[in-house]
């Protein structure tokens, strides 16, 4: 028997955790604040706590929420579209392409001009990768063709980033790129929030509109099409939406892995396998996970003489994510070896 879905309690629980984590995120940092001081700083904006909370920790907190939610939702959407629990947002190359754009701007010192430069270049990179994917695979491409084209683009973008790193004019630039690639929300400002948010929200809206199609797709593409789902359109719109959201997220925060893969799995145990119903809880789970990771990097002590003051966000998410991924492969290896499902 399938356990009865417990969607509403899970959503309430996740929202409560997000609120607690958000308050923690406003409190934690080089100068610790009490919950009262953090909230007072947030509300009145006065004094040092006001400055710290409003202009440093609030943008960081909101970005962690939005980006985490984007990864969680994008992962759930791609798993729904591909009917495969191992799908994840980096599959179509958008985050890798965003990394190329951002690395290029950092390498050639263009990022000093304006804080918009790095995220903008990242978003341009992600958009180019979508354009490339659609151009190569075609608008009515099969899933296999789209996946192969995405894989090729992702590898190419990886090589391009390596090349930029290789040719970096100074060791400092190379180091900066290397750190940027590890992912972080350190020192992100309202500007970053302003530039990323429209893309993240556009991605959410597009994915939410296509979520009901994921449910029909559980029957396969032919049956879903016979139920009135426009498969070609759904496929291309979901790929574009994921690229927009994840591309913008990576453009602002660097590479952050595994949230998109892990979040849908964590909620599926509670809400069941309905791929449309998984989307909202997965987004909330993604937000909670990234927020928790971003609080953790500020709490975990590092060597004060180390080059990086904080642990990088991508390091923490991957360190937690990879063992989970391996565990999942272990558990589903029979299925993955081609046994009929």
């Amino acid at each position: 028997m399938q356990a009865k879905p417990q969607t509403t309690p899970l959503i309430i629980g996740l929202i409560a955790s997000i609120v607690v984590l958000a308050i923690l995120s406003l409190m934690v940092g080089p100068s610790g604040l009490s919950p009262r001081a953090a909230l007072a700083g947030l509300l009145d904006g006065e004094g040092a706590p006001g400055l710290i909370v409003r202009s440093i920790r609030l943008p960081r907190t909101v970005l962690a929420l939005l980006i985490g939610a984007t990864f969680g939702l994008a992962g759930a959407a791609l798993q729904g579209l591909l009917r495969n629990p191992l799908a994840e947002p980096a599959l179509f190359g958008a985050p890798q392409a965003a990394s190329v754009g951002a690395s290029f701007v950092i390498a050639y010192g263009l990022s000093g001009a304006t804080s918009f430069a790095v995220p903008l270049a990242g978003i341009v990179g992600a958009l180019l990768s979508i354009g490339g994917l659609v151009a190569i695979a075609g608008r009515r491409a099969s899933l296999t063709v789209t996946l192969l084209a995405g894989l090729a683009l992702a590898s190419f973008a990886g090589a391009a980033t390596a090349l930029i790193l290789n040719l970096a004019p100074t060791p400092y630039a190379a180091l900066e790129i290397a750190f940027w690639l590890l992912g972080s929300l350190e020192d992100r400002s309202v500007d970053h929030l302003i530039i990323a948010t429209p893309f993240l929200l556009a991605s959410w809206v597009l994915l939410a509109l296509h979520a009901p199609a994921f449910r029909a797709l559980t029957l396969g593409e032919d049956a879903a099409a016979s139920l009135g789902v426009d498969i070609d359109r759904t496929r291309i719109m979901v790929v574009i939406a994921v690229a927009l959201g994840v591309g913008a997220a990576v453009a602002v925060a660097g590479s952050i892995g595994f949230i998109g893969l892990v979040a849908p799995h964590l909620v599926r145990r509670r809400v069941g396998s309905d791929p449309a119903r998984v989307c909202l809880p997965a987004a909330l789970m993604g937000a909670a996970l990234l927020l928790a990771a971003d609080v953790a990097v500020r709490l975990i002590p590092t060597n004060p003489n180390a080059t990086a003051i904080e642990l990088k966000l991508g390091v923490v998410t991957a360190l937690i994510g990879v063992p989970f991924f391996l565990m999942m492969i272990f558990r589903e290896r029979q299925l993955l070896s081609g046994a009929p499902s």
Partner: protein
């Protein structure tokens, strides 16, 4: 005269440049169970997919007098229920939720099921004898149970046209009969049903009309007694057969493959 729900005229389908269906002309009439037979590779599934609007076809396919190509995907889905072969279920969703997908063409995707939707789901579950495991995850069912759930999903849309590609495959003898009787009942209560069936005995017993597809061409159509002759079974299927009059009608008995 019965109402023609689907009219196919000179339908031609090419897949990747290969001519797969070559000029099929026939009607699907309300109240009639039509059974499409033919050897492997004859183009049966391709023809069924073209009729369901899933792949482009040349020629004319009209649904209730309107061109199939002019219908939106949703309008098409409200008129044609299609059961593909294979009975695929990718996620371990509950049986009732799977069958409720049949209401997708009727429901607003973002609101829940209406009372009418729920009643249709219930009818489909009970008609296919799947009510008892409505709450179970579909992936825990046996092949035969899955086949019935897949059929229930197609029935739940209560479309005037039902196209079923090998609905009896992987079913035990009892459930093959149950499913064929069910398809006949759906047809006789007013729908136009087209089923692809490999078992000539089932085809002969239940079909109001048999369509024979051979290498993409519709080479015969009519009542079982006229169409399923030893000569035609020999030429189309390469099987030596005799026709036996039995209590349930004229039944082909297959003797041996012709070498």
């Amino acid at each position: 005269m019965s109402v023609v729900n689907l009219k196919a005229e000179d339908v031609v389908v090419r897949l990747g440049g290969t001519l797969v269906v070559d000029g099929a002309t026939f009607d699907l009439k309300a109240g009639e169970l039509a059974v499409l037979i033919g050897p492997n590779g004859a183009g049966k599934t391709t023809l069924a997919r073209a009729l369901a609007g899933l792949i482009p076809a040349e020629g004319r396919i009209a649904i209730e007098g309107r061109s199939l190509a002019s219908l939106t995907p949703r309008q098409r889905a409200q008129r044609i229920a299609y059961l593909p072969q294979g009975h695929v279920f990718h996620w371990p969703m509950a049986v009732a939720a799977i069958v409720a997908l049949g209401r997708h063409p009727h429901a607003d995707a973002f609101s829940g099921l209406s009372a009418a939707d729920r009643a249709a789901v219930e009818r489909a579950l009970s008609a296919t004898d799947t009510l008892t495991f409505a709450a179970r995850a579909v992936t825990t069912l046996s092949g035969g149970e899955r086949a019935r759930v897949a059929l229930a999903r197609a029935l739940a849309s209560e479309a005037p046209i039902l196209i079923a590609d090998e609905p009896t495959v992987s079913l035990d003898p009892r459930h093959q009969l149950v499913v064929m009787e069910l398809l006949a009942r759906v047809a006789h209560t007013g729908a136009a049903v087209l089923a692809i069936v490999h078992d000539l005995t089932l085809a002969a017993r239940f079909a109001d009309r048999i369509l024979v597809l051979e290498r993409g061409r519709l080479n015969a159509q009519g009542a079982a007694r006229e169409v399923l002759t030893p000569e035609r079974i020999a030429s189309v299927f390469g099987v030596e057969a005799e026709i036996i009059d039995s209590a349930v009608g004229a039944i082909p008995i297959l003797r041996r493959p012709i070498v």
